[in-house]
């Protein structure tokens, strides 16, 4: 027996959950409500959206990515119009688009292509924000993970920046001390842990899935990858299992860790004298072994928004304009060709050469709408292995079995 859910009933059931978060929106009913992950680049781009429309028209709320996705999932699944525009990573975007929760914007893209020079976005970026042949999001940043390291300390120890995972382990082991960890490690579930595991799984393992979406992360190479991750955790700061990007950034900025994987968007913060004790002491290379995460993220319009979609599109396009991205280049790698090819950027921002190399060696998450849910399963079991709750092989086998069950239930093997 298959039933279409009673949408008004669902709305009622989720009303209480949304009440607190909607309260601010209710104060200014006509305002466009934008929700986004909080990080320097997105603080900048959401501010551009606020400035694109008259004062009071745009109401932005910034929060950690897991909270944002949770709020968005609850809101969209109840078909509520409480959110108008939302920031989505490439992996979460596919799930939202597949669920029918996002508004396709092909017509507006075509209409405003000349005005906002939208052909300036490379096709690969447009593909990344498209699903099933339709464009769903305005690309806002290309993000890649870089390998951050303390140049002063490595020079002093006569250690070259690592090129392979073995070099990385040797360097972290050499630099590890009671007061300064050999490496940062961000294993807070789900997003941060999934990013870290993605790198190991590509650099040492064979990736996540075969061509039929069957898990391969529990094969011999996958077990070796997570075993290495567990070994590397010996050199990580205490509390690494609860660390996400914020905690790892602080550890680097405060000189409490020597090296490790972190996003491009955190590079500028290393040279900010108001926050950092290591100004000019950090340098960057592409992550050793390659395969670290590359992401194309953007802003999308909710399919249930009662706002004016043309106005919202223009607001997003203003934030993604050439001028805006030229300015925003210090926070994140802009996806516009004209800005990326600007030679001045490399001179102005020290981390750009490493970022270009990381883009070439990096890898996006598997192109499946349910990868975040897979990530919830996989990171839980990887953490069981890393903390000694289970053996690596046993944990990965169980993760693979649960993943297969999940994907079978979602029709991947039909």
């Amino acid at each position: 027996m298959t039933i279409r859910p009673n949408v008004p009933m669902m709305k009622g059931a989720t009303a209480a959950l949304l009440l607190s978060s909607v309260a601010s929106g209710a104060l200014a009913q006509d305002a466009i409500r934008v929700i986004s992950h909080r990080q320097p680049a997105l603080e900048y781009y959401t501010q551009q959206m606020v400035e694109a429309l008259p004062e009071g028209r745009v109401n932005v709320e910034l929060m950690p990515i897991d909270k944002e996705l949770e709020l968005a999932s609850i809101t969209m699944s109840s078909e509520s119009d409480a959110i108008d525009v939302l920031y989505l990573t490439d992996s979460s975007f596919k799930r939202f688009a597949a669920n029918g929760w996002l508004e396709p914007i092909d017509d507006l893209w075509e209409k405003y292509s000349d005005e906002y020079d939208l052909d300036d976005f490379p096709q690969s970026v447009i593909d990344a924000v498209s699903y099933d042949g339709s464009i769903y999001a305005m690309p806002i940043l290309t993000n890649t993970e870089l390998f951050f390291y303390r140049k002063d300390l490595l020079d002093e120890a006569g250690i070259e920046p690592p090129e392979t995972m073995d070099d990385y382990m040797a360097a972290a082991s050499e630099m590890d001390s009671a007061r300064r960890a050999g490496t940062i490690m961000s294993l807070k579930p789900v997003d941060a842990a999934l990013n870290e595991a993605h790198w190991y799984m590509n650099a040492i393992g064979d990736g996540w899935f075969d061509e039929d979406w069957k898990p391969i992360f529990n094969n011999e190479a996958g077990v070796a990858a997570i075993t290495r991750l567990k070994e590397m955790s010996e050199y990580a700061p205490r509390g690494f299992t609860a660390h996400a990007n914020d905690e790892s950034t602080i550890n680097l900025q405060q000189g409490l860790a020597t090296m490790g994987l972190q996003w491009f968007t955190r590079a500028a913060a290393m040279d900010n004298p108001e926050q950092s004790r290591v100004v000019d002491q950090i340098d960057w290379v592409a992550p050793p072994g390659g395969g670290a995460r590359v992401a194309n993220d953007g802003f999308a319009i909710s399919a249930f928004s009662s706002g004016d979609r043309e106005e919202m599109f223009k607001m997003m396009a203003e934030a993604a304009s050439k001028e805006s991205m030229q300015e925003g280049a210090k926070y994140a790698m802009p996806p516009r060709l004209s800005v990326l090819e600007n030679a001045e950027l490399a001179e102005q921002f020290r981390w750009y050469p490493a970022a270009r190399a990381a883009l070439e060696s990096g890898k996006a998450f598997p192109a499946m709408p349910d990868f975040n849910d897979v990530g919830e399963i996989v990171t839980r079991h990887i953490l069981r292995a890393v903390t000694g709750e289970a053996e690596v092989k046993e944990a990965l086998d169980q993760a693979a079995a649960e993943t297969e069950e999940l994907l079978a239930g979602r029709g991947y093997y039909d």
Binding site: I3, G100, G409
Partner: protein, 291 residues
């Protein structure tokens, strides 16, 4: 029933209506949903009978989270009861300043649990947190409070105890105020020491309050969510994943609403059975001691 009492049942209707709206309707709806395979993203649900229950009851994760819940629940309530009772006795013994101390000791309970958890999270943060920084100043290597499976459980238990010990303290302190002091005086005249007086006079007299406070706290702690969610998120791995955290993961992260509803129903049955058993046990002990 006398004539004037005949229409009194009508006064029962508003409160029953409210209960039905906020308690029975969601409960009934959750039970209904638990019979469906319902992934929120798919937009449709399929009747599967008891399959969600069968799936859950054969899952190792459910039993792990159940044991974690029991461990954390009894650990927290145990610590809270011992410390709360000791504080209540200390306050009872104080001739002066008892009110000032009771207010000060009650402060952690006034703070919202989420705020308390955020505060504790920063206190326990590695390296730069207050606790770590203080210990490191004295060259003491602190444990990984929230990152090691064992210490994460301990931290969660202590965090809950920090917030809820004052409640137990206040209830028992209030009960002590009603204690017949002549019983204590009689025991002392008969030569009973402090321990004997406590064991044979004070504790039996406080049994009703003890049953009440332990039942209330156990009911509460089985629904324990906010502190764990903020402090550890159920991790590392599944070390602090209680049954409510697992329900939340299923419902709000995986959007598996049918399965999450089934887990909610299982939790309700298990907690109700457990509390009934504990209540009966304590009541039996009380009556046995009374005879």
């Amino acid at each position: 029933m006398v004539r004037w009492q005949r229409g009194l049942w009508l006064f029962f209707l508003p409160s029953f209506g409210l209960l039905a709206l906020v308690l029975l309707w969601p409960l009934g709806y959750a039970i209904y949903l638990s019979f469906f395979d319902y992934y929120l993203g798919s937009g449709e649900r399929t009747f599967v009978g008891l399959a969600n229950y069968a799936d859950l009851l054969t899952e190792a994760r459910l039993w792990n989270s159940m044991w974690t819940t029991i461990l954390i629940a009894f650990g927290s309530v145990g610590v809270e009861f011992v410390v709360g009772f000791a504080l209540a006795l200390a306050l009872y013994r104080l001739n002066r300043s008892a009110k000032v101390f009771s207010v000060l000791l009650f402060l952690p309970h006034i703070v919202t649990p989420v705020v308390a958890a955020l505060f504790l999270k920063w206190m326990l943060a590695s390296n730069w947190g207050f606790v770590d920084a203080t210990l490191l100043t004295f060259n003491i290597e602190p444990p990984d409070w929230l990152g090691s499976p064992v210490w994460a459980k301990v931290s969660v238990i202590l965090a809950d105890a920090w917030v809820f010990t004052p409640l137990i303290m206040m209830v028992l302190y209030a009960a002590l105020q009603g204690l017949d002091t002549s019983l204590i005086e009689a025991a002392q005249i008969d030569g009973a020491g402090s321990w004997s007086t406590l064991r044979h006079v004070i504790v039996p007299a406080l049994i009703p309050a003890i049953i009440f406070v332990i039942s209330i706290r156990l009911m509460d702690v089985f629904r324990f969510f906010d502190l764990i969610y903020v402090l550890t998120g159920g991790g590392p791995g599944t070390a602090t994943e209680t049954i409510t955290i697992y329900t939340y993961q299923l419902g709000f992260r995986m959007l598996e609403v049918g399965k999450a509803s089934a887990l909610g129903v299982i939790t309700l049955i298990v907690v109700a059975a457990l509390l009934l058993t504990i209540n009966r046990g304590l009541n039996k002990a009380y009556r046995g001691g009374d005879q």
